[in-house]
Symmetry: C2
Subunit: 422 residues, 2 copies
Amino acid sequence: MATKSKRKNAFYAQSGGVTAVINASACGVIETARAHRDKIGTVYAGRNGIIGALTEDLIDTGKESVAAIRLLRSTPAGAFGSCRYKLKSLDANRREYERLIDVFRAHDIAWFFYNGGGDSADTCFKISQLSQALGYPLQAIHVPKTIDNDLPITDCCPGFGSVAKYVAVSALEASLDVRSMARTSTKVFVLEVMGRHAGWIAAAGGLIETHGIPGVILFPEIEFDEAKFIARVDALVRENGYCTVVVSEGAHRADGSFLAEQGSRDAFGHAQLGGAAPVVAQMVKTALGHKFHWATADYLQRAARHIASKTDVKQAYELGKRAVELALKGANAVMPTIERTSDVPYRYRIGVANLADVANVEKFMPRDFISDDGFGITEQCRRYLQPLIAGEDYPAYRGGMPVYATLKNASVERKLPLFEVK
Amino acid sequence: MATKSKRKNAFYAQSGGVTAVINASACGVIETARAHRDKIGTVYAGRNGIIGALTEDLIDTGKESVAAIRLLRSTPAGAFGSCRYKLKSLDANRREYERLIDVFRAHDIAWFFYNGGGDSADTCFKISQLSQALGYPLQAIHVPKTIDNDLPITDCCPGFGSVAKYVAVSALEASLDVRSMARTSTKVFVLEVMGRHAGWIAAAGGLIETHGIPGVILFPEIEFDEAKFIARVDALVRENGYCTVVVSEGAHRADGSFLAEQGSRDAFGHAQLGGAAPVVAQMVKTALGHKFHWATADYLQRAARHIASKTDVKQAYELGKRAVELALKGANAVMPTIERTSDVPYRYRIGVANLADVANVEKFMPRDFISDDGFGITEQCRRYLQPLIAGEDYPAYRGGMPVYATLKNASVERKLPLFEVK
């Protein structure tokens, strides 16, 4: 009994856009916490991320079976719900930070595990600092997650390897399709991928070149030059009969305007919604007359657990596990990272970064990862990407469909007054 | 030597839009022909489909290794190239039909295997009739292929099961994503799928309902009623917090206009290219104010060999194999078919249809496969679809990427004068 009363609880929340492997990190956190029952009581998850903490809407993960938690490893998206909600600065919204501490105190929570990207790392850092100021001992550990791969210090971010694999495989498959059709029909295929600021995801499309596919990649890091682009497509189609264009949603012109912005209105006056892919496809059609097809992968790419990278799943799990181990060692305001030690064979170890160095820093594609003409990737980039998409980690299937977890997500009884968000 | 001289050659061509498993049918044709070397000499493939026959641009598949032909079974798209080229009627273009016979005669071709959909079945039928009229003995056998699943008589068409699996799996994964985000962000996800006339592919999206996902399916068979649609989405979002819409590219209004037609122009006066998904998404936003995301899968869905249905791959192969066996038995103007004999457990046998009954007949979704409100599928439809997506048949991977065949596609020496197409 004495031992039990000394145990503290942990809080875990998923933040921002979800990925194919964020639940693998959740699995790593919860399984590791369960392996240390002598120190960690219950892992409470925030229902819909940090909103769950603010509104005291906590999920008792202790109610989930061992098998259900295990199944999280192969389940895409956020099993506890996520949210897009950035806490304001301490000065602007001290009320919310104090509420978080109130909730943590009410539920005897000593560890705060926040699973997200750059904004979340910032929030996590602020919370780590505040607990000290408010005299409530809390260790805040960030678990990295972002398909955008734009967190600093860590070599890569869980979620990215799987979206990269999805994009590379899908672009290859669609390219074989176009190659088949090019004689009388489609000659140019355009695939739009995510990545508003950084071109990491688009870069994965560049991997098709090693499979003999003529490709053009449009990065957010390179200002879009229509004449140069059309000349490149023209040359590739003349030489190969077809080509594939992978365009980042963040691709933009010299004036900063996104390709996706078409500036037109529909019959009802609504702004046009095209996305970058149809714009690029139409440009090719207008300039060169080629028949085209285009696809916009959107959520399909970040949810595609069925084609997840084994490396990515493994790292997502390991970083969740390491976050708990760091917490048990007394760490605060840190994030476990991937430290690559070798490209071939691929080797890495788990490192640690201070959140003060992570928060609000975005990592873009290095210029030497992009070819001189700006339309492809370099050997250096390929060496970076290749291990991240390596290996398959298929979910189980039943009746032709993948078996994904849907948890009970039982609520923890509330102890505090209601709190309104916003 | 006497034996050798009696052997005739075969011609094989891929026609129309390619699929994830059309090469599995090619594999079935070629492997089975090779197993009957005593009767069948070489399988010549048309480079880019029937265009290759017209222009005497033949590929010697005998130059491909056993391993390369085997690899076709797990390679998407058309390994010999396909084309969109419909032969005109005999009266309108007797010249082309006569040219085909000339080419077949020059290369001692006794068997014509045509791997395609409805239009191709019509061409194949015409050729089967003409050879008789022109006094050249030729057996024409059609190998069914179409993701649209709209050929009559056969229970299903190779290519469909895999695109159905892709759509069902992708819609499920993206739905889990939306479910995670719905509290503060995206509440409605719209996925556009292929199927200009028939809603078979869209119907596969209806399989997510058995996984607890609130879904709305927009079929080409059901006239689109905006008010009813919005009411349905509103009800689902109120009850579940989110919903997923799967819209067929062929979905249209009562006046026949496609949802994809927005009637707007960009800044340069180009017709707008949106596709149905952004139109539907914007409708929801305008009427209900919900944040949305949308994806257009386009070629990704029909090329997605990485998530092909095992049933589909098997049937594609078997129908190619049976086509050769039928030819060896002297059949002409026929198509091997799938005859389902039981839903659970799924059982089928390979049947035979006369091309006269296949050509120019489209098979639509039966009304009792669509729910009364027009927005979902019935239990009957689920029983039909389920076995077609059953089983996984993963390609091999190397370095994180699938291993797909790229053939030598060596040309056969020309014997005839050039012939201009069109």
